[in-house]
Symmetry: C2
């Protein structure tokens, strides 16, 4: 795959960013995209946060990969998040590999890619960095912040860090902290990457290597966790590839095997292995309970934000129970909160595929919220 | 770990074994262990089949590894499967790595380890091979055949191949065929092994390499699937290792991370990477539906065997639904079948840990079945 990184739009933030790990970035780049137009009152902005393997190219064409944006189905003209009406902003997270400051970028102090010299970042760091985008566009308060999976974690974290800067928040298919199983899957992925000798202790960009196999295996593990058992069964079951019977070899016999291998190896073309380490680490470290001494309600205390929490019935990575914990915490402080569990066979991936009930929920919440918000601001 | 392979007991079967793949093994070795004494009437024999990572050392001390047998909790004097009363036999599966003919053993035609020259085997092949043990001991009919996970698959397959040779069968925590998710997990494991350059296209034993990292990652993936989300959460949650806070590195911070790494890397000391490929492949190929043109009932047609099917409530690798499908198939042909779902938080691993309700079920079924069987034979 030919990647056209020159097409990336960036802003350079010259202010220092003190990270959770104690290191201060003296400045950093944010690669971003916007869709639709910011209106005069600047009250139609929606800040979208992307997930682990996502980027700033929410919709239309990803100009780097020349593929569709990752949320093409949900965001665009006349779609659930209607860019005729709303101004959608999305930035690549710091630690990512689509142009924002991260392990793939050049460390100004050495002139070489950061690699593992990049500091370990957190979801809080990602969100703190992205808040600068609102200043850049002169937006005091967004209509909504939202995202799925790690994007949902950021949507939650944004509310705790900047409660005055959004009217609404839509955390989708996420949790207030990673479970032991979530951490285990991510650790498996990291171990797979670091086991690849081509990873070269994180120096592969300098040494001209590519940890293809390690990253592909990490991605395969991810894909297993993104789909529900039933979803995998409906999609693949025990279907063989073109042949009529198993081949008694270790090549792919079953469709699900070639699907996994394809997903794994095609990911390598567009994603940086070190970024995968940093971003999964940030997800594992995310813990709104711990940030609030075990009391999740405290995270949102005094919050005037309107919440819409969405989960999916067959998401076993971030099960509905995790969303309910957030809802309970919000209810206990009297926050305005809606909660919807969407019935879907598509597991965690439900937020990325065509789920009309989900898209209708999104649209209904955002459009009605805008009617309120535009009278207020 | 020092392995004492010289302690292994083996029988050499001189009869040819036609494998499902079309290849004929001209003869083969079966490494086995027995516990308790075969009585005069030879009606107290129980044939245990082991799971993917198991071996013939069911209980007491594994003389190769010097560790406890894998089912020490269930089998032994005064235990659920009481070796004061019963004669327990278990063989290492062919394709395995604890002394039975498999990829680690010497190919007599080359004088070198088989490696990937070993033919791809199936659950049917494993069971056909092990039936010879009964002839060796002069046992016409076992009291019961049983096993968990892949052992359960063998217990099912045994009934279809040798319906006259067991009085009862206890398939535990298994399925009549692998789901797409099961195949996906196994393919992830195989890809991890084959991605390790030390695997050397399966020739590592000849070239003096060891695909430690690949096999460790395969095992980590397995361990994630063996425990329930709740079990992992209860056991580890977000507990850190000795330190009081995260370290902002990629070393293990959380206990669940060090647990996984330990499980992965300690496995390498005792297991052969190629065996892992062969055995997972056999599991993925297992399909009692397909063997019977889609009609699972036909697999057991005319069966006089008494079945006890056992599943565990939080086993998401072989969910209760899979056991129920077997029960329905058995009911539809009027077979004598009991079914128990044991409520447990321990996921698929439940059959290996201390689950009193499970052990009581095992004991109750086996002891009462023996009362019937000894009057018959």
């Amino acid at each position: 795959m030919n990647l056209n990184f020159s097409s990336i739009k960036k802003i350079k933030i010259e202010k220092p960013l003190l990270l959770d790990c104690g290191v201060t970035l003296s400045g950093f780049n944010l690669a971003y995209e916007t869709y639709g137009k910011l209106n005069e009152k600047k009250n139609n902005a929606i800040l979208v946060f992307h997930a682990l393997s996502g980027d700033q190219f929410v919709t239309e064409t990803n100009t780097v990969t020349n593929k569709d944006g990752w949320w093409n189905l949900a965001v665009g003209k006349d779609k659930s998040i209607d860019t005729n009406k709303y101004f959608v902003i999305c930035a690549n997270v710091i630690g990512g590999c689509m142009g924002s400051t991260g392990p793939k970028e050049i460390d100004p102090s050495t002139g070489k890619p950061y690699g593992l010299n990049f500091p370990v970042i957190t979801i809080k760091d990602m969100v703190s960095a992205q808040a600068h985008l609102l200043d850049y566009f002169g937006i005091k308060k967004t209509l909504a912040v939202l995202g799925g999976s790690m994007g949902g974690m950021q949507a939650l974290q944004f509310c705790t860090l900047f409660p005055e800067r959004t009217y609404a928040s839509i955390p989708i298919a996420c949790a207030a902290s990673h479970s032991a199983q979530n951490i285990a899957f991510n650790e498996l992925a990291r171990q797979a990457i670091m086991a690849d000798p081509e990873w070269d202790n994180g120096n592969y960009l300098t040494s001209g290597k590519v940890p293809r196999k390690g990253l592909a295996i990490a991605r395969m593990a991810g894909h297993i966790s993104y789909l529900s058992e039933q979803g995998l069964q409906n999609k693949f079951g025990r279907k063989l590839q073109k042949q009529t019977d198993v081949k008694f070899t270790f090549d792919a016999d079953f469709e699900v095997e070639s699907y996994l291998k394809y997903q794994g190896y095609s990911f390598v073309d567009r994603f940086d292995a070190n970024s995968y380490l940093y971003i999964t680490r940030a997800m594992d470290y995310f813990d709104l309970y711990k940030q609030n001494n075990g009391n999740l309600s405290k995270a949102f205390d005094g919050s005037k934000i309107k919440y819409c929490i969405i989960s999916f019935s067959t998401d076993w990575l971030y099960p509905t129970l995790e969303s309910k914990k957030i809802v309970i915490a919000l209810n206990s402080i009297g926050a305005e909160v809606s909660f919807v569990e969407i019935v879907s066979n598509n597991g965690h991936d439900s937020f990325l595929v065509d789920e009309p009930a989900f898209f209708n929920t999104l649209k209904g919440f955002i459009d009605s919220t805008y009617e309120e918000f535009k009278n207020e601001i």
